[in-house]
């Protein structure tokens, strides 16, 4: 699998920004494995959820502050765990984690997430 180089031919002209973005997206579509895309979709959902909760907290109410901390903390914790998992299974960075097999990484990810959700639900109500 080729290394993930997403900016091979970006021209330096100002009109090329949209072209560069298109290139970026296209390169991502072409070069990213399907499983990493799945991880990225999950990460995107978590980010949107966290942003929505933070906006609600800032704009509407912080009142059950423990609920905010639990909800917002679950998104952050899940994001961190998932990002670590992504680094371990992404073929582009896989070389740095040679002693951890992908299966082991997935098991670690699941265990960490379950512990995280255990704390989140304890803190939520």
């Amino acid at each position: 699998m080729p290394p993930k180089k997403v900016t091979p031919a970006v021209s330096q002209s100002t009109s090329a920004i949209s072209g560069a973005l298109q290139d970026l997206v296209q390169s991502y579509k072409d070069n990213t494995p399907k499983r990493v895309k799945l991880i990225d979709a999950f990460l995107l959902f978590i980010v949107l959820s966290g942003v929505a909760q933070f906006a609600y907290c800032v704009l509407v109410t912080t009142f059950p502050f423990n609920a905010f901390l639990a909800g917002f903390g679950s998104t952050i914790g899940q994001f961190v765990l998932t990002a670590a998992f992504r680094a371990q299974v992404n073929p582009a960075t896989r070389s740095q984690f040679t002693i951890i097999s992908p299966e082991r990484a997935f098991a670690d990810f699941c265990f960490g997430s379950i512990v995280l959700h255990f704390f989140v639900y304890n803190f939520l109500g």
Partner: protein, 445 residues
């Protein structure tokens, strides 16, 4: 005309019946301390009035030592009448200190009626007056008033109209003959004004009545015991225990001879008995019978309440009815207040009479502050028995499981946490499924 006839009949009946049935709330035994110079038969109407109310009179001269006012520090009498204005010395058990000690007993106080006369020398009574916040003009200076005098030649015998008051219940108006001394009241809040001197009166030597005014004029009004602020009859009520004392400035007030002036009847006997009735705790005597507190939603009291609880406090007050000699519930107090206090009153609210006779109640929300609180009722009104009640309760904060849960405003956070979990499960299943597919793909490739 019919109703007025009935009302007159009613008044006559109560006047006939009331004295015979009257009783004191604190006891019937009266010690009358008299002077050797006084003839007790001169006061027979007053004694008869007291006896007909059920009092048991014991006479004792100041020169005698028995019967003692207290035996082994237990009071022997419920009431003492000190009718000895000219005695220079008193026995030990009637010394000012002993009398104050008897009066201020918090459990079984002895009520004392002091009677003075203008010639009262620098006697123990004068010193005792200072203990009560009452001071007297110089000796042998009776009250003089040319505007209210019986006759211009006898300006020390005055005809006065005491005000009608709930504390002198048996007295129904009329003139009284007063011949005696005035006194100056301090600002002591325990003093109760019964009768003030007329505004045109002053204290002076009756043989030289103008001298006092001349001297006062020369010194810019200083030293003249004059005017309507001077007292003639003053009550005193001990805060703790409710013992009562009365200072009456005129011996003449109690005399049989004062029953009529120039053939016209006076109200002296009725007024003297009314003063004695207040002093001997017949009238204006109140007590607290019961105190209740609870949550509004419950029926039994709690030792501790939670912050923001809705609490109801009830107190039952009785008044002594001397006509039947019993305590009857009263709802006539309209200015009683309840304080919910931790160092400072956090809540002060009105105790309103409830529909049940004698009960006063207040509902309030416990303050948002935890600690040891007291329900305090401290009702002090001149002439009435002071009412004091203090009940200690704790106010605790919410327990950890008493807070409201699953608030509607927290739903975004609940949804966020649930959706994260659901997305995690979905991701895991997709991951496992997708793993198989890729493995197959790899194998096929």
């Amino acid at each position: 005309m019919q109703p007025s006839l009935f009302s007159w009949l009613g008044i006559a009946l109560t006047m006939l019946v009331a004295p015979t049935w009257a009783k004191s709330s604190s006891g019937d035994k009266v010690l009358v301390v008299t002077d050797a110079k006084l003839e007790m038969t001169d006061y027979s109407q007053f004694w008869d009035g007291l006896r007909s109310r059920g009092y048991d009179l014991t006479f004792r001269k100041t020169s005698e030592d028995a019967p003692a006012t207290s035996v082994f520090d237990v009071p022997s009498f419920s009431h003492i009448i000190v009718l000895a204005p000219s005695a220079k010395t008193y026995p030990k058990d009637l010394s000012p200190q002993s009398l104050v000690h008897l009066l201020s007993d918090s459990k079984q106080p002895t009520n004392i009626l002091f009677v003075l006369q203008p010639s009262t020398p620098s006697s123990p009574l004068r010193d005792l007056g200072r203990e009560f916040g009452i001071s007297f003009p110089p000796p042998a200076t009776p009250l003089i008033d040319y505007f209210n005098a019986v006759s211009p030649s006898n300006a020390t015998s005055l005809l006065l109209s005491p005000p009608l008051s709930p504390h002198t219940a048996g007295f129904e108006g009329g003139k009284i003959l007063y011949s005696g001394v005035s006194h100056l009241r301090s600002s002591n809040p325990l003093l109760v004004d019964f009768l003030n001197a007329p505004a045109t009166s002053y204290a002076a030597d009756p043989s030289e009545p103008a001298d006092a005014i001349m001297e006062a004029a020369a010194s810019g009004g200083e030293g003249l015991w004059a005017g309507g602020r001077m007292g003639l009859v003053t009550g005193f009520e001990v805060l703790l225990g409710g013992g009562r004392a009365m200072w009456v400035g005129s011996l003449e007030l109690f005399k049989d001879a004062a029953a009529s002036v120039d053939g016209e009847a006076t109200a002296n006997n009725a007024y003297a008995l009314a003063l004695a009735a207040w002093t001997f705790q017949e009238t204006s005597v109140l007590r607290i019978d019961a105190v209740e507190h609870r949550r509004i939603s419950e029926t039994s009291p709690r030792e501790q309440y939670r912050i923001k609880d809705d609490v109801i406090y009830r107190i039952h007050v009785s008044k002594f009815d001397a006509t039947i000699g019993e305590w009857v519930p009263t709802s006539e107090i309209d200015d009683m207040q309840l304080e919910f206090t931790m160092l400072d009153p956090h809540i002060r609210t009105a105790l309103k009479p409830s529909s049940a006779e004698g009960w006063y109640e207040a509902e309030f929300k416990a303050p948002d502050r935890h600690g040891v609180f007291k329900f305090i009722v401290d009702w002090r009104r001149k002439g009435y028995t002071p009412l004091h009640s203090s009940t200690t309760v704790s106010v605790v904060p919410f327990r950890h499981n008493e807070y409201p849960r699953f608030l509607s405003s927290a739903w975004p956070y609940y949804l966020g946490a649930l959706s994260t979990s659901a997305a995690f499960v979905l991701f895991c299943s997709l991951w496992l499924l997708g793993g198989d597919e890729e493995a197959k793909k790899k194998k096929t490739q």
